[in-house]
């Protein structure tokens, strides 16, 4: 296990060095990611400037929702980029090479590409998070801080799980299925707002099927001390993301087995 981390760090170092060979392009892309999301948040700000609040939620509160989900998504795009480009690996036959090495295929795929430029999006989400928390006047405690980190981590696990499910689909079909994009990009858009503004069936879907709630109202209600917040549920909510990732890993394992029996 320990050895796997060492190997992953080795991959990481290599990936960073490879990207630093094209430094100018790295800087430009990072700045690009920073500004596209800044503009997105300006849009939300403009809406609140016009309407004041959204079903009782203030802009500063929304800022927390926005930053948690965006940070989770950016971390996923940064560290699970290899899963995003995975269909190419299968199509080109290079996945065979990963099977020929005595390591977990997932570790090798994740190691194959780390997209540093997503730092731009993380750098943008962080100040929004701090501003939001400050403006709302969150009374911080170690538990709350931990929960905020947990919410981001849970969201990241969930998105990695979605990426993993999408990647696993290429074991079954060579056609690129954009269904998962609806859930990843669409999910990010959705969970920028508290899930309780949506219709019940929508909320149920994003709580029990694709549990985006784990990086949304479940922990954030607790942090914001909203009425009706359940601290225990909030504290456990990051586990939902982890659980989802676990299920996705099972699907991946099935996919690899299928690949070995069909050879395509």
């Amino acid at each position: 296990m320990n050895d796997s981390w060492k190997l992953y760090l080795h991959y990481l170092g290599i990936s960073i060095r490879a990207q630093m060979q094209y430094r100018a392009s790295f800087v430009m892309m990072t700045i690009g990611f920073f500004f596209t999301t800044v503009i997105e948040f300006l849009g939300i700000w403009a809406m609140f400037a016009r309407f004041g609040s959204l079903q009782g939620w203030s802009l500063a509160e929304i800022a927390l929702f926005y930053s948690v989900i965006n940070m989770a998504f950016a971390l996923t795009e940064m560290f699970a980029r290899g899963l995003d480009t995975f269909p190419n690996l299968v199509k080109s036959g290079d996945f065979d090479r990963l099977l020929l090495r005595p390591r977990s295929t997932l570790l090798q795929v994740l190691g194959s590409e780390v997209s540093l430029m997503r730092l731009g999006r993380i750098l943008q989400a962080l100040p929004i998070m701090l501003w939001g928390a400050h403006t709302v006047g969150v009374v911080w405690s170690p538990g709350k801080a931990l929960l905020l980190i947990g919410a981001t981590a849970g969201g990241t696990c969930l998105f990695v799980g979605l990426f993993l499910l999408q990647a696993s689909m290429s074991f079954w079909t060579i056609e690129s299925l954009e269904i998962a994009n609806i859930l990843t990009h669409g999910g990010t858009q959705t969970a920028q707002y508290p899930l309780d503004i949506y219709r019940p069936w929508f909320r149920i879907f994003f709580t029990f099927v694709v549990p985006l709630a784990c990086a949304n109202i479940l922990p954030l209600n607790v942090i914001l001390q909203r009425p009706g917040a359940t601290p225990l549920l909030g504290a456990l909510s990051p586990c939902l993301g982890l659980l989802f990732l676990g299920v996705a890993m099972l699907a991946w394992g099935q996919g690899v087995r299928r690949y070995c029996s069909t050879g395509s």
Binding site: Y11, I14, A18, Q21, L100, P102, G263
Partner: protein, 327 residues
């Protein structure tokens, strides 16, 4: 000791047939038609430790299906397969630690990195100790003349240089078994010789068991004592090169350089295969007419400047074997 045992290996693939056009794609979603392809149809062989075997066959014969099965990345439909006492696809990680695999067509090195960085990553992937790594790297660098290449990014290497680096990359963990898939494809003559020499060294000095798949018959003649020929998913022939020749044809070729290029030549026991200018290639069966007799008969009748006798080239043998199989 048998390193590799393959018994009655069968592999069938279900290939989805796609209809043309937009409507076809839509129909494909609802109802798929499948075609069954028999890639391996009862393949059996055994390889002893330290053998160097050529595994040849036309495209689609089942070569890569066999190699993929041996490598553990393909599960056969039925049959037995053991490599060093392990079933390849059941214990993937333990199994692949014992393998070196080189594909001539694609590199396993990281494209943007200097070669040495790829080697260091492979060291960690295979868990090679620092001491062994240092020793192997020194040896491989010397044997394959990698000195100047190690700090070069892979994308800047020539094909021959890249191949040498790829060989080094797949041997760092000192595997007892090596699969080479067309290792000389596209290489210039000098690089080909270097690769062959190195493979021979590995096999003879280090006792590495090698399976070589190739379309280059010079590779086979230079390296392999044993040749397995596969066609249509079945083994057509398995034995020494000489035995293969004997099985397919015992004919010899007599090549004559005549004094005069307009001369018509004829002999009841020999058939003219081709003629370019002064050079005539005849084929004959030494069992029907002794070589010495044929030569003396021809030189008595025709003005011959030079002559030599040879075996039909291996390409010819293989091509005939395939035709026989197809018929």
């Amino acid at each position: 000791m048998a390193h590799i045992v393959v018994e009655n290996l069968v592999k069938t693939f279900e290939v989805a047939e796609r209809q043309a056009g937009m409507w076809g794609a839509v129909r494909g979603l609802v109802k798929r038609t499948h075609r069954t392809v028999q890639a391996l149809d009862g393949v059996s062989f055994e390889l002893q430790a330290g053998e160097l075997v050529g595994y040849i066959g036309p495209n689609g014969a089942g070569k890569s299906t066999t190699v993929k099965t041996l490598a553990g990345i393909l599960v056969p439909t039925s049959g037995r397969c053991e490599v060093l006492g392990r079933v390849p696809w059941k214990e993937r990680t333990a199994h692949v630690k014992q393998l070196g695999v080189v594909f001539g067509q694609r590199t396993q090195l990281w494209w943007d990195l200097p070669v040495v960085e790829s080697l260091e990553l492979l060291r960690d992937i295979y868990g090679v100790t620092a001491v062994r790594y240092k020793a192997m790297l020194a040896e491989l660098t010397e044997r394959l003349s990698l000195g100047d290449l190690l700090d070069t990014p892979v994308r800047q290497l020539s094909l021959g240089q890249r191949m040498r680096c790829d060989l080094a990359a797949s041997l760092l963990h000192e595997p007892p078994i090596l699969f080479l898939d067309e290792p000389t494809i596209g290489l210039d003559a000098v690089s080909k010789l270097a690769v062959r020499e190195f493979v021979q060294h590995l096999n003879r000095e280090r006792g590495v068991t090698v399976i070589l798949t190739t379309h280059d018959m010079d590779d086979i003649e230079a390296l392999c004592t044993r040749v397995i020929v596969i066609g249509g998913g079945r083994i057509l022939s398995d034995g020494t090169l000489d035995a293969l020749r004997d099985r397919v044809t015992r004919e010899h070729w007599l090549i004559l350089d005549l004094e005069d290029e307009t001369l018509e030549l004829e002999d009841p026991d020999a058939e003219i295969l081709r003629r370019d200018g002064r050079r005539v290639t005849l084929r004959f069966d030494p069992a029907r007419v002794p070589t010495a007799l044929l030569i003396s008969r021809l030189t008595a009748r025709y003005p011959v400047r030079d002559l030599f006798v040879q075996n039909p080239p291996i390409e010819e043998i293989i091509a005939r074997l395939y035709r026989e199989q197809a018929a």
